[in-house]
């Protein structure tokens, strides 16, 4: 019994089918608890007022935007090394979700930035890095869409994901070299609660957990539909061959 057994699409479909309702329930429960608690039952910040509440969406979305790319990187590596189709499909499935998370992080950041910094956008290293991440997602998704041969598309997008990771990281440091920023440093850490008061920390961590579960649920749904799509295509091809034979 090893983890690699679930590279078998049949086993993956069975397990993910069982897990999916639970993940959805967990995601919805954590999201509603974290967000409602955060939005309505936490005090306002003494400097930022009630605008601080956008943090319960902004930070988890930003976290998932990066983690989605890391997941794609891992799945791409698994595809290149072990050639498990489910892995390639999972990477493909995660990309639009990561893109959406990036857009949410950028949009909520802009909404938050206007009252706090007086501008929707500033060429701050963190903001700029996210914008760069956004274009990397776009390129990755576009390449998947453009190539007809499925295995070749998986190969090339995996290589692009690896190369893109290196360049995205390089761009991040290049951007820091290029400009100093407005954005505050990381105040969050899941294991220590140094920089942030208890009342804010707990709901924020719960909504982060909610975003993680939501991401897992969405990736599972997307991967399952990709697997089913492949099955359909295979069935259709088989159908046509049978027809021609008859």
């Amino acid at each position: 019994m090893s983890l690699w057994e679930y590279a078998n699409p049949q086993k993956f479909m069975r397990l993910s089918g069982i897990l999916l309702p639970w993940v959805w329930t967990g995601a919805m429960a954590a999201l509603s608890l974290g967000l409602i608690w955060g939005f309505f039952f936490t005090p306002d910040d003494f400097r930022m007022g009630s605008t601080v509440k956008i943090i319960y969406v902004h930070v988890p979305a930003a976290l998932m935007a990066i983690n989605a790319w890391l997941m794609m990187l891992l799945a791409s590596l698994i595809w290149l090394v072990r050639r498990h189709h489910v892995s390639a499909l999972a990477a493909k499935a995660a990309a639009p979700i990561g893109l959406a998370m990036t857009v949410i992080a950028l949009a909520t950041g802009a909404i938050w930035g206007k009252p706090m910094w007086g501008a929707y956008w500033a060429w701050d290293p963190r903001l700029t890095s996210f914008l760069i991440l956004f274009v990397f997602y776009l390129g990755y998704i576009a390449l998947w869409q453009a190539i007809d041969d499925k295995d070749l598309a998986a190969d090339l997008t995996s290589i692009l994901c690896l190369v893109g990771s290196v360049f995205a990281l390089l761009s991040r440091y290049a951007v820091q070299f290029w400009s100093q920023g407005l954005h505050q440093g990381a105040t969050f850490s899941v294991d220590a609660e140094e920089n942030i008061a208890d009342v804010f920390w707990l709901p924020a961590v719960i909504s982060m957990a909610g975003f993680v579960l939501l991401f897992v649920a969405l990736v599972l749904v997307n991967t399952r539909s990709e697997v089913q799509l492949r099955r359909l295509v295979a069935l259709k091809r088989w159908d046509r061959i049978a027809e021609e034979a008859a």
Partner: protein, 218 residues
């Protein structure tokens, strides 16, 4: 490899090879900009190096799609892939030929176009140096992008979306060299980082591009 390099050079220089089109585009871009932002020398001097860098990126992009595509269409690429030279060598030869026919003329034209932007001669020297160090990286990264879009029909626009994000570090460090030089700040770090990017790209990317070519040829 040497033969391949000279073959690519000859093909690029002949009519229909697109040689000079990238340059003409670069020239046009530099010509259009003062019309758009006004002829105030102060403004031109500030945006000039950046415009010339972005122009170099875009005109490099213009000639990339023919890097492998033409050889792929007439089957020459398959012959080259089965030829007794390493695929990495093929990539090196093609990227070098692309740089010599495209990047090098851009570098030489850059400081001349700097005159349009009132860039002083001393600064033009740094612009030339930064372009000379940075443009080889553009050709090599571009070869990677060109190999990715090889199996895509009419991949020109997709190429843009794939390659431009990868150009960001080169652009940032390259433009930073000129900006720091114009402000009298220390340019050592920017120059070192730009060279680092270029060297790393030339050391690693041939292997990556070769693996893409082999995967596409299967």
């Amino acid at each position: 490899m040497k033969a391949l390099f000279w073959r690519d050079m000859r093909l690029a220089l002949r009519s229909g090879g697109g040689f000079g089109l990238g340059l003409a585009f670069y020239f046009m871009l530099a010509l259009l900009f003062p019309f758009a932002v006004g002829s105030d020398p102060e403004v031109l001097r500030r945006v000039g190096p950046g415009v010339l860098w972005v122009g170099a990126l875009l005109s490099t992009l213009l000639t990339l799609d023919r890097l492998f595509a033409l050889d792929n269409e007439d089957g020459a690429l398959d012959m080259l892939l089965t030829a007794p030279i390493p695929t990495e060598g093929l990539v090196l030869a093609k990227a070098s030929a692309h740089w010599v026919t495209n990047g090098l003329p851009l570098c030489l034209l850059g400081p001349t176009l700097g005159l349009f932007f009132q860039i002083p001669l001393a600064l033009s020297g740094w612009l030339l140096a930064a372009l000379l160090i940075g443009t080889p990286a553009l050709s090599m990264i571009g070869a990677f992008g060109a190999s990715l879009t090889l199996s895509v029909k009419r991949g020109g626009l997709l190429l843009m979306l794939l390659v431009l994000p990868l150009y960001l570090p080169t652009l940032i460090f390259g433009a930073e060299v000129v900006r720091r030089a114009s402000e009298g700040a220390a340019i050592g770090p920017a120059l070192a980082l730009l060279s680092g990017v270029s060297l790393a790209v030339w050391a690693v990317m041939p292997f990556v591009t070769a693996s893409v070519l082999r995967a596409s040829a299967k």
